[in-house]
Amino acid sequence: MAYSDKVIDHYNNPRNIGSLPKDDKAVGTGIVGAPECGDVMKLQIKVENDVIVDAKFKTFGCGSAIASSSLATEWLKGRTVGDAYNIKNTDIVHELNLPPVKIHCSVLAEDAIKAALDDYKKKSAVGAPTEAPAAQSVKS
């Protein structure tokens, strides 16, 4: 099973390895997969004015999984949040020449992207912190 040059490149020179502060309101974090499956991807995005200005990843998984998530961070940077939802696993398969047996790695990467985007949206949908509610009338 020879790897494509692109997978090898991402493995040897992964783009954007690392972490962003997950408590930062501008950061969306997606963690997908499970250790028992042999695949866990953590993908994070930092958004400013609806544009993804930074993305980082960490992956427990095979070379194709690492390459898929590395590629994902490359593609996320510079996109708007809305546009980022359009990234499809098939694009990743095509770009990395993934063989059929590795397609699921790209699916997990797409899941990770969506999880990070959803997390960001959830965090930014929470409005400005509200005042403490006025004292409630005592229930009889």
Binding site: Y3, P14, P35, D39, V40, G61, C62, G63, I66
Partner: protein, 404 residues
């Protein structure tokens, strides 16, 4: 050092140059068919075969006449199981084996189950050993065969074959042992082990691929088999087909070399293996040895490197030939069933690497391999979300994973 460094000697071994030299004349000069009884070429071939038979018999302490040549251990396993099942079907229909056997045994058992046989797959303990008491407990009046491997190909664990053999004898049940990984590495004596059938293979002991043997006991008891292959009645009717003389000569020579060199070679293997293990475990935390710490083949090491996946690790040391129990490296996308049988969690099964040292490995290669493994594991741990979480003090077992 020559690259790639080959440290996957459980999967196969290079042919020893001395073995190759012994084989060559039988391709172009002494190319006769060993069954040709009427001319010199035939007699020469037959002599070479009988000589090889003696060399192999010496290694496992059996009589030369008790060996049946096959295409390899897989065929030997098939012949033993199916041959006994068919021959002794009036006597019973139950086979006892273990969960960590090679696929050649497990898949054959599955096929026999489809034909109506019953098979008990015994569990193993945390270090991979079959318990003789479990064997005794599983026996019924219908049991006709026990099949337990001498040493496991993934984790190197050596089973208590002699004890199991004793129980088999007590109960009058035939005992087959797949000794493919143990022959030539540890002393094997078919009488001391009390086995009635035994599979062995040449390409695991620096012989050529395509040839193996089945030891079939002739006395105490006399074991009979229904052959898999008919057509001429070669090998006392048990395995028809023209004998591949050059391969057999190679097999014989390989066994002779093992017999001569085993005492020093196994010590040297163990020393290299221990050195590799010590260097790796000194520098890396959270590395777990899979298999028995002492009842283990001298050349085998199987380590799980937590938080790092096996295929990615192999990619990081691609100038070294190794193998892994990870799902990503298997044809079936399942993690190693052997490691799972030990109770090793799937996550650690995905993180396992098997090192199989061999005759042609050197201390220099061992040191290089240790260094590169440490580098690769360290690098991948920096890239691992699991390592990050563990370092933050998160108990990974308590996490709710979002599996798709």
């Amino acid at each position: 050092m020559k690259f790639p460094i080959f440290m996957d000697n459980h999967s196969t071994t290079p042919v020893d140059p001395r073995v190759l030299e012994a084989m060559l004349p039988y391709f172009t000069e002494k190319f006769g068919n060993a069954a040709s009884r009427n001319h010199q070429l035939g007699w020469e071939a037959e002599e070479a075969v009988e000589n090889a038979r003696k060399q192999i018999a010496k290694l496992i302490r059996c009589d030369a006449k008790e060996l049946v040549f096959t295409s390899g251990a897989t065929e030997s396993d098939n012949l033993a199981l199916k041959g006994v099942a068919e021959m002794y079907k009036e006597k019973g229909n139950h086979i006892i084996t273990s969960m960590t056997e090679h696929r050649a045994i497990l898949d054959t058992c599955k096929a026999l189950e489809k034909r109506g046989l019953e098979v008990t797959y015994l569990p193993v303990d945390k270090q991979g050993r079959v318990s003789p008491d479990d064997v005794r407990g599983a026996m019924t009046e219908k049991t006709i065969l026990i099949s337990i491997m001498l040493a496991n190909n993934e984790i190197g664990t050596i089973n208590p074959i002699a004890e199991i053999g004793k129980i088999a004898k007590e109960k009058g049940v035939l005992f087959h042992c797949d000794a493919t990984q143990g022959v030539g590495k540890i002393p094997v004596d078919v009488n001391q082990l009390a086995v009635d059938l035994m599979s062995l293979s040449a390409h695991k002991i620096y012989g050529p691929k395509g040839i193996g043997a089945l030891y079939v006991r002739k006395k105490g008891p006399r074991v009979r088999l229904v052959p898999l292959i008919d057509g001429g009645g070669h090998e006392r009717g048990m395995r028809s087909g023209t004998l591949p003389v050059p391969l057999i000569v190679g097999f014989g020579k390989a066994c002779e070399l093992c017999e001569q060199e085993m005492p020093t070679e196994s010590k040297r293997m163990a020393a290299m293996r221990d050195r590799l293990q010590a260097q790796i475990m000194e520098k890396l935390d959270e590395c777990y040895l899979n298999g028995h710490p002492t009842e283990r083949l001298p050349n085998n090491l199987n380590i799980s490197f937590a938080y790092v996946e096996g295929e990615a690790l192999l990619m990081g040391v691609k100038e070294i030939a190794l193998s892994s129990g990870s799902a990503c490296t298997s044809a079936t996308l399942e993690p190693s069933y052997v490691l799972r049988a030990l109770g090793v969690g799937s996550d650690l099964a995905h993180s396992s690497i098997r090192f199989g040292l061999g005759r042609f490995n050197t201390d220099e290669e061992v040191d290089y391999t240790a260094k590169r493994m440490i580098e690769a594991v360290t690098r991948l741990r920096e890239m691992s979300p699991l390592y990050e979480m563990a370092k933050e003090g998160i108990d990974l077992k308590s996490v709710q994973w979002a599996v798709h």
